[in-house]
């Protein structure tokens, strides 16, 4: 039986990867995917904990996260398509009308 700490470490690593990707990637889609990665890391953590604690609600939370992530994905992709249509680039550094 693999101890749940392994899974937690994995989820932490995934989350960290997501953060790093979010900070360093320049393509909007990639950034968006990095966020999804973070959310899935969270899901992993939830499942692990609920397994560890012998409670079921953690897994129900995962359902919520998945659904919300899907809704976010829909909206996000819509926005990204909007941007892609108006300027022929998905590079965030080119999206700079508003000085950051």
């Amino acid at each position: 039986m693999v101890p749940s700490s392994y899974y937690l470490v994995l989820s932490a690593v995934l989350f960290g990867l997501g953060v790093v990707a979010f900070v360093f990637k320049r393509n909007i889609i990639t950034i968006f995917m990095s966020i999804e990665l973070m959310l899935n890391a969270v899901n992993l953590a939830f499942v692990t904990f609920s397994q560890h604690l012998g409670k079921l609600n953690g897994q129900v939370f995962v359902f919520f996260v998945i659904v919300v992530a899907a809704a976010e994905a829909a909206v996000g992709l819509a926005i990204i398509i909007l941007i892609a249509k108006h300027r022929q680039s998905l590079n965030v550094e080119r999206v700079d009308l508003l000085k950051l």
């Binding site: 973070m38 999206v95 508003l98």
Partner: protein, 487 residues
């Protein structure tokens, strides 16, 4: 097995908001193009209905939905702020949508969904419920932010809001997961109980709180997580900006307060310094960055960052005060009301003056406004002076309450920083005023006559700001009472 009818009452505002949202959403395609005005009336009806529902809800205190939500005077207070602000925004946005000729129906529908989410946040006592409410409001506001489909700025603001917002959400969720792992529950009260003897998970708990705070700090635009604010506020359609500046901030503060005082009430030592540092940073960053702005919306955005800092000072004060945290929390609540009034009013005027396509957003565009539209100029001046915290305005008493709470908690340095940064605020607020009053307009431009909706918002907010100074008694007692209901 069915929930008692009281539960329905306890979520009445959310129900009303959702129902009207869906109603408008479905009705929109059926209503012919020329009769879209009906949407505005429907939206107004919904807003008023929601306010009535808040009143209904306030009569049925108690936990609802198996303890996912609670109706106490705290949540009632925040519902008042959130739904009040939403109603004002509905009033203000009708003419805006006409002018920009944008889809009426969807706007109001999304606005109602966003408001509903905020309402859930305000009365949630369970972290997953918070999360759901947060997402309902955020997703709706992402769409609202890019509502001006023609404007590139609008897309950009929506994109940044979306990316950074969901980034923050991920942090919040990870925090929830950690807290869940440490205590085996996500109900705030249970967390407090569990945290008391879950000493072996102390590390995990602290880390979890840190993550939760990051998520919240994004939403309340507290440094160092405030970068998105100016861009989003500038790019979003101005009525939406008005909503973003008032509603979500109030809701996020509600969540923050509930988390720190209900869940982590006993462990104020773990979060006090986080809040302290964030507050100081936020005040400094917000105020000093605002000085450099030439665009009114950006300036107001930075000023709202600064005000988040002031509110955090009160939170820190409440945390440091230990048992006597009520004063600080009451100060936060009172200030939130004043702040919502000021910001909604200010952004409404900005959207009115922006003209078609939001062309005129530079401070210099306001030159000579005092002669062109004296009333508008006077109202804007009032909001700015209130933001600055001069007497005769609600902002002054709000600052007094915060100062006092902080002093009682012996946070002298935080108070000094707040005082100094307040003076810095004089620079940029007064600049707008002198442009409006002392400068003659360069180009011959007369702003459009004030539309009835905008006029109503101006009147209500201005009256509210003055009234809160002269008769703060009732609201303050309510706030103090709500503060007590938090523990």
């Amino acid at each position: 097995m069915f929930p008692p009818i009281q539960d329905i009452y306890r979520i009445a505002p959310e129900l009303v908001a959702c129902l009207f949202g869906m109603l408008i959403m479905v009705a929109d395609p059926f209503v012919p193009r020329e009769r879209k005005g009906a949407m505005g009336r429907l939206g107004l009806a919904g807003a008023l209905g929601a306010l009535v529902a808040v009143e209904l809800m306030s009569r049925h205190a108690g936990a609802a939905m198996n303890g996912l939500l609670v109706v106490d005077s705290f949540s009632v207070f925040l519902h008042m702020i959130i739904y009040g602000a939403a109603s004002l925004v509905v009033l203000a946005s009708y003419d805006y949508l006409e002018r920009e000729n944008l889809q009426q129906g969807e706007f109001y529908a999304l606005l109602f969904f966003a408001t509903c989410g905020m309402g859930i946040m305000a009365s949630a006592t369970e972290l997953m419920t918070v999360f759901v409410g947060l997402e309902i409001s955020s997703i709706a506001s992402y769409i609202l932010a890019c509502y001006r489909r023609a404007a590139l700025k609008s897309h950009e603001s929506a994109m940044k809001y979306f990316l950074l917002g969901s980034f923050a959400t991920a942090f919040f969720l990870y925090g929830v997961a950690m807290v869940y792992g440490a205590t085996g529950t996500t109900s705030l009260v249970a967390i407090r109980a569990a945290a008391a003897h879950a000493t072996d998970h102390h590390m995990l708990l602290t880390l979890g709180f840190g993550m939760l705070f990051v998520g919240m700090a994004f939403k309340i635009a507290a440094a160092p997580f405030q970068v998105w604010t100016p861009d989003v506020y500038e790019g979003a359609p101005t009525p939406v900006t008005a909503l973003l500046a008032s509603g979500p901030k109030a809701a996020a503060f509600a969540v923050l307060l509930r988390i720190v005082f209900t869940a982590f009430g006993d462990a104020s030592s773990t979060w006090f310094w986080i809040v302290w540092i964030s507050a100081a940073l936020t005040m400094v960053v917000g105020n000093f960055a605002a000085v450099a702005q030439s665009n009114v919306k950006r300036m107001l955005a930075y000023s709202s960052i600064a005000h988040a800092g002031y509110l955090l000072v009160a939170v820190a004060a409440a945390g440091a005060a230990g048992e006597e945290s009520a004063a600080g929390i009451a100060a936060v609540l009172f200030y939130l009301v004043a702040y919502a009034l000021m910001k909604v009013g200010a952004f409404t005027i900005v959207s009115h003056l922006g003209g078609s396509g939001e062309q005129r957003l530079e401070i210099d565009d306001y030159a000579g406004l005092s002669t062109r539209q004296p009333t508008t100029a006077a109202c804007l001046a009032l909001y700015l002076l209130s933001l600055l915290g001069l007497p005769l305005t609600a902002g002054f008493l709000g600052k007094v309450y915060i100062f006092q709470a902080a002093l009682d908690a012996k946070l002298i340095w935080l108070v000094v920083i707040m005082a100094v940064t307040t003076v810095v605020g004089a620079f940029y607020y007064l600049r707008v005023i002198w442009v409006m009053y002392f400068r003659e307009a360069q180009q011959d431009w007369t702003p459009a006559p004030v539309a009835p909706g905008v006029a109503a918002v101006m009147f209500l907010t201005a009256a509210g700001i003055l009234a809160l100074f002269f008769f703060p008694g009732p609201l303050m007692t309510f706030a103090a009472h709500s503060a007590l209901s938090l523990r």
